[in-house]
Structures are given as structure tokens and as C-alpha cells.
């Protein structure tokens, strides 16, 4: 009985401790703060959103988001507030309007143009490469014929 108990305890010890950790529930507000903060750029960091950034300004911006959610502002209203203060620069994804379309479309246009350019060049090379004149196959000499017959027989 005691051996069984020891084995059970030993088995329990192999289970990672984090599995026993109490799950800290995110509130609705926390989720909304996270979702909004992930779409806004940290203006004093390099390519980081304000959710991931540890900068004091990002921390304060998260606080502003939380305060505005508490006041009943919608996600779009909060994003519009930041946009009105910092312009398009604050958004992690440039909005799809005006000249910004260039950012979204240009890579695909360049890819298409590159592919078309490559296709044109390759077809050009193929067309310009001279094909060798076709020659009749040389007849088998006696020695080769005998060798093949020998190998087929064996």
C-alpha cells in the first residue's frame, strides 16, 4: 500500500507545477484593452505596439484606453481618439485609403511586374537560342552488337 502511495506521489511530482496554477481570468475590459492596444503603435519604440511595449508612454496609453472603456467609449471611438492626436502614424496597419493603397498594392504589383519581366526574358532567351541540327543515329558496329547480344543472353 505504502509503495503504491509512493509511486502516486512520485507520479504527481512529474506533472508540471504551472498546471496547478490558478487561472487568472481576464475581464472583458482587459480583453478590450488588449485588442485595441495591439492595433496602436508605440510612438517612442521601434515597430512595437503599445500592448507589447514597456515604455512609460505606452503604459499611459493603455491607461487612457482603460479609462475610456470605463466611460463607455467603443473600440472605434477610442481608435479614432488616438488617430485624431497622432494621425495615421499611430496605427500598426496603415489605413486603406488614398496614397496608403500604394503600401498595400505595391509589393504585389512589383511581384507581378517581376514575374512578367522574367517570363519575357526567358521566352526571349529560348527563342534566340539556336537549336542543334538533327543528326541520324550512328549505326551499331559489329563489336557493339555482339556485346549487346551477349548481355541479353546472359
Amino acid at each position: 500500500m505504502s509503495i503504491r502511495l509512493t509511486w502516486c506521489l512520485a507520479a504527481l511530482l512529474t506533472i508540471p507545477l504551472p498546471l496547478f496554477a490558478a487561472v487568472q481570468d481576464e475581464t472583458e475590459v482587459d480583453i478590450q484593452v488588449r485588442e485595441i492596444a495591439k492595433t496602436l503603435r508605440c510612438t517612442v519604440c521601434q515597430t512595437e505596439n503599445i500592448w507589447e511595449s514597456g515604455a512609460p508612454l505606452a503604459q499611459q496609453m493603455r491607461g487612457v484606453i482603460r479609462d475610456r472603456i470605463a466611460l463607455g467609449h467603443s473600440t472605434e471611438e477610442i481608435r479614432a481618439y488616438f488617430l485624431s492626436r497622432y494621425g495615421d502614424y499611430i496605427l500598426m496597419e496603415p489605413p486603406k485609403h488614398g496614397v496608403n493603397w500604394l503600401i498595400w498594392v505595391a509589393p504585389f504589383l512589383l511581384l507581378l511586374a517581376g514575374g512578367f519581366f522574367l517570363y519575357k526574358e526567358v521566352t526571349h532567351w529560348v527563342r534566340d537560342t539556336p537549336t542543334p541540327p538533327s543528326q541520324p543515329e550512328p549505326p551499331l558496329d559489329d563489336q557493339a552488337r555482339k556485346r549487346i547480344e551477349r548481355e541479353l543472353e546472359s
Binding site: V44, L57, R85, Y86, G87
Partner: protein, 187 residues
């Protein structure tokens, strides 16, 4: 390769080169602001030195220069002398007000800074960073000029020294006050 393709390729490369050139020589401080000609957000907060509440509404109808600074900011120290000089230049004009905004700072550090470097105008504390965010501040120092109608007329990111000082005093504040500064502008 046909001549048409060659020309297209050259044009594309020239376009890319132009973009790189602009990126290399453009002013990295220049981030286009969306706040120019918009209404300056109102604020209120405690005075760094006296603790009394200061509000932008108190200065309605005046030209207000807002200067965001912090005691830990090196460039704020660089511009401090010019900022005091700018205040000296316009302080006698009843239509002009200058306010400092202490940003992301500890109160004792801010008070020590003002004692050490001198202060001739009021400074409001931005306690939660809300004021800085309302003004779309990226970092310090940043300076805003608000006109008599309460609209933001000018924003500058970086120290107010040299040519920037001349520009802000002669081309921004003086025309707003409809009078040229009385003393000589220094750089």
C-alpha cells in the same frame, strides 16, 4: 531587353533612389502632425512649484506657448536658456502666456531642476500622461503655440535653439501678437 523595358527599369531604380535619398537627408524629427489648426485640448493640473491648479481655460484669448519638458531630458537642458530668453522677450505682452508641462517626471526631480536651471513662468504637472497624449506628444522637448482663438498654430519636436528659436519668435509668436519683439533675437 527591349528599350521600353530598359527605360521602365531605370525609372523604377531612380524612384527607389529618390526615396532612399529623401530618407537619408530628411529631418527625422519631422513627424507630420494632425493637430495644427485644431482646437487645443483643455487641461488642468497642479503647478510644479506651488501645487495650485492651472487650467488652459484660464488663458482664453491669449497666445499660449506650451513647452513639454522633463528633468531627465538632456535636450530640455540644452534649450532651457533659450526658453527663459523667449519668455523674457514676450512676458510684458499681456496677450502672451508661457506654460511648461512637466512630463513623466517625479515631483522632487522637477522641482530641483527648476531651482537649479531657473524658472520665470508656471509649470503644470502631467500626472497620468493624459495631457501629453491629448497633444499627441512623442517625447520631450516639444513645444506648441496656441493662438487667441484656442487653436494650435505651431508644433516643434526638439529643442528651441538657434534657427528654430528665431523662427518661433519672429515668424510664429510675433505675428500672432501683432507686434515685433522689442529686444534683439539671439540664437
Amino acid at each position: 531587353m527591349s528599350k521600353g523595358w530598359q527605360l521602365t527599369l531605370i525609372l523604377c531604380l531612380l524612384g527607389l533612389f529618390a526615396l532612399f535619398y529623401q530618407g537619408l537627408w530628411g529631418d527625422p524629427r519631422h513627424i507630420p502632425t494632425v493637430l495644427i489648426e485644431t482646437e487645443a485640448p483643455n487641461f488642468e493640473g497642479p503647478d510644479v512649484e506651488t501645487g495650485q491648479t492651472i487650467s488652459l481655460d484660464q488663458f482664453k484669448g491669449k497666445v499660449v506657448l506650451l513647452n513639454f519638458w522633463a528633468s531627465w531630458c538632456y535636450e530640455c537642458k540644452v534649450e532651457h536658456e533659450s526658453i527663459l530668453q523667449l519668455h523674457q522677450l514676450f512676458k510684458d505682452n499681456p496677450e502672451f502666456v508661457m506654460l511648461g508641462v512637466n512630463y513623466q517626471d517625479e515631483l522632487p526631480d522637477a522641482q530641483k531642476y527648476l531651482k537649479e536651471y531657473g524658472s520665470t513662468f508656471s509649470h503644470v504637472r502631467d500626472l497620468k500622461g493624459q495631457l501629453a497624449i491629448d497633444y499627441g506628444v512623442y517625447g520631450v522637448p516639444e513645444t506648441f503655440v496656441i493662438d487667441q482663438q484656442g487653436k494650435i498654430r505651431h508644433k516643434w519636436v526638439g529643442p528651441i535653439t538657434g534657427e528654430v528659436y528665431t523662427n518661433i519668435t519672429q515668424k510664429v509668436i510675433a505675428p500672432l501678437l501683432k507686434a515685433q519683439p522689442t529686444t534683439t533675437v539671439t540664437s
